[in-house]
Amino acid sequence: MSGTITVNRHENETSISIKGRFNFEMHSQFRTAYQNEIDGSVNKNRKFVIDLVGTEYIDSSALGMLLLLREEAGANEADIEIINARPEIRKILETANFQRLFKIS
């Protein structure tokens, strides 16, 4: 059982919201979600918002997917914000010190 992904596209910003379990089974779904945005993006400075409001669980494969998104969205130039993580998920992100690589709010 894995989660579902919803993509909302605004002018310069793409919001990807993940409901349910964010784990290795989501790999191709997540990748398709952001890749369409990157490929179709004329503007290199596209901002990504990862909304974890409905995310119940996150595993290390999901952290790997976030790193992959960061890499493909321009590595250090990437503008990615992770929002609405519940405390236990926030703790996992902070244990990996992801606040140094992403905006977490």
Binding site: S60, S61, L67, T95, A96, N97, R100, L101
Partner: protein, 563 residues
């Protein structure tokens, strides 16, 4: 499709033969069951038409023997029968028949049955070849897994994880391969390095990353590099070899029983817990770094947490497979349940078993969803030697020869690299007296750190007397080293061969102001008292140790005998 007709009625047989031949099937005929079986074996037909009542051997028995002889493929048998009662027909199927055809024959029905059997036969052939391919593939995978497991277990056994007296460990993979790598090994100076690495994912893909990691861990530890160096070099390597979405949450621990210190570099693993004799947590070392293999390391990313080692400390290191283990209902074991075991009710020596017991009781029969590792460092046993000694690296024996090497390290060099591994490696490549590496490393390390810490950085060992002072000492050391702009350390190694070994003269001089000659004695005693065995240890290993100048030049003679 080659067809065998077994029928003692020659008229029937001829009619069938003609019908089938007209449709292009090659036909062979037998007139009794026994000949039918023999012909089946020699002609290997694809389908058999079988009469029931025949001389020598009836159709039931012939069908049974034919089925027995054709286990490697599917050969349909169609019984030719005059009976139409249910029982008679059931007996045909029981004997191994696949279908029956009632006499007199209808050509259309015969053709339909034959093509139906042909379809089943082809389906069988496809299934069979797929099964064979799968079996071959499975066998190949099994063989590769065996090789992999062999490599993997040799890696784990290469170090001191299993024989270091101060370690207890538990590790259980969720699949054949463990995505958690737990390794431990002694440095030449006798300090113990431990690493737990947890790769993204599980199984084989996670385990392949373990190979370069373990190789670097053992190699660098044997050369005397610090855990900060290890973290940096492993990070560089993993960044090169791992795909972006894979990384390794890792924790490195250095247990130094001489300096009475424990250093921890935690990048992405759960809190390392330190308990004292009350069985309660006295220190919690949180992850302070990004996991390995994600981003390039900056200088501050090498920073380790230092704590003063107390005799009664027990250090617990574990992967998130422990805290994230679930019960039948998907509830997490959690950090709180783990922390609750350190309530002072469980005696410290029982904590390790209590954690495993609590975990198993909680999980019940729930499926394991991640690799689980747990390791305990019992500080009271940190100074005990493993039964087989520390060194696991084979050393080459080079005949004693005459040579001299000199190094001068400027302040700039000292700020950026630890020169000790380089010195010891140069020495080992030139001479490598077998079995002397640890002792030589200790002598060089002690004399060199005296020159750096006291000669150039002007640190006072007496600072280390109190626990706060202990931390202040290391903070001061880091601060002063970062600010070092002047001064140098010169190391000269001179080797003279002897008939049965050799003599190594070590001269280490620093450009610092030195010490008041009247205080040299107290400086040495201070070092003896607080810096572990320090100078006394060097004296016991060398034939002589003399301080010149203002105690800023140390000269030691080390003799060795060929074993």
């Amino acid at each position: 499709m080659k067809i065998l007709i077994v029928d003692d009625d020659r008229i029937n047989s001829t009619i069938l033969n003609r019908l089938l031949s007209r449709d292009g099937h090659p036909v062979v005929t037998a007139y009794n069951g026994r000949d039918g079986v023999a012909l089946f074996k020699s002609e290997r037909p694809d389908l058999v038409l079988m009469d029931i009542r025949m001389p020598l051997m009836n159709g039931y028995e012939a069908a049974r023997q034919i089925k027995e002889a054709s286990t490697d493929r599917f050969v349909p048998i169609i019984f030719l029968t005059a009976v139409t009662d249910d029982e008679g027909l059931a007996r045909c199927i029981e004997a191994g028949g696949d279908d029956f055809l009632t006499k007199p024959f209808n050509r259309v029905i015969l053709q339909a049955k034959i093509s139906a059997m042909e379809r089943i036969r082809q389906l069988h052939a496809v299934l069979r070849s797929q099964k064979e391919q799968l079996e071959k593939h499975q066998e190949g995978v099994r063989r590769e897994m065996e090789v992999g497991q062999h490599l993997f277990s040799n890696i784990v056994r290469a170090g001191n994880l299993l024989d270091a007296p101060c370690l207890n460990h538990f590790s259980t993979p969720m699949s054949l391969f463990n995505g958690d790598l737990l390794v431990a090994s002694y440095t030449p100076a006798g300090t113990l390095h431990i690493m737990l690495g947890d790769f993204t994912g599980h199984g084989l893909s996670a385990a392949v990353g373990a190979l370069p990691l373990a190789e670097l861990f053992y190699g660098l530890t044997a050369q005397g590099f610090s855990i900060g160096d290890l973290a940096e070099q492993i990070n560089d390597k993993l960044r090169k070899v791992l795909p972006t979405r894979m990384f390794c949450a890792a924790c490195l621990i250095e247990v130094d029983h001489r300096q009475k210190s424990i250093m921890v570099w935690n990048g992405g693993l759960p809190d390392v817990l330190v308990a004292d004799k009350s069985g309660q947590i006295v220190r919690r070392i949180r992850s302070g770094h990004i996991p390995l293999g994600v981003a390039p390391m900056r200088r501050e990313d090498r920073k380790v947490e230092i704590l003063e080692m107390q005799e009664d400390y027990r250090v617990f290191l574990y992967s998130d497979g422990l805290t994230e283990a679930t019960d039948d209902g998907g509830i997490l074991f959690g950090q709180e349940r783990l922390d609750a075991l350190f309530d002072g009710q469980t005696p410290p020596e029982r904590l390790f078993a209590a954690i495993l017991h609590a975990l198993n009781a909680f999980r019940g029969h729930a499926l394991q969803t991640d690799d689980i590792s747990l390791l305990e460092v019992v500080c009271a046993r940190a100074s005990e030697e493993p039964p087989g000694g520390q060194s696991h690296l084979p050393q080459k024996d080079i005949p004693p020869s005459s040579w001299r090497i000199a190094f001068t390290f400027s302040a700039q060099t000292l700020r950026t690299v630890d020169p000790l591994p380089t010195i010891i490696n140069a020495l080992m490549n030139l001479q490598a007296p077998s079995g002397q590496r640890e002792r030589l490393y200790t002598v060089l390390a002690e004399l060199f750190s005296n020159a750096l810490d006291h000669g150039l950085l002007r640190l006072d060992t007496r600072t280390k007397e109190t626990p706060e002072g202990f931390l202040r000492y290391y903070a001061q050391r880091e601060e002063r080293l970062a600010a070092l702009t002047e001064g140098e350390i010169e190391v000269i190694l001179t080797h003279t061969p002897h008939p049965d070994g050799g003599e190594l003269r070590i001269r280490i001089a620093d450009s610092g102001p030195g010490f008041d000659p009247n205080n040299v004695q107290s400086f040495l005693e201070g070092n003896l008292h607080h810096g572990g065995r320090g100078i006394a240890l060097v004296r016991s290993l060398c034939t002589d140790l003399i301080y010149h100048g203002n105690a800023n030049i140390a000269e030691a003679t080390y003799r060795w005998t060929r074993s």
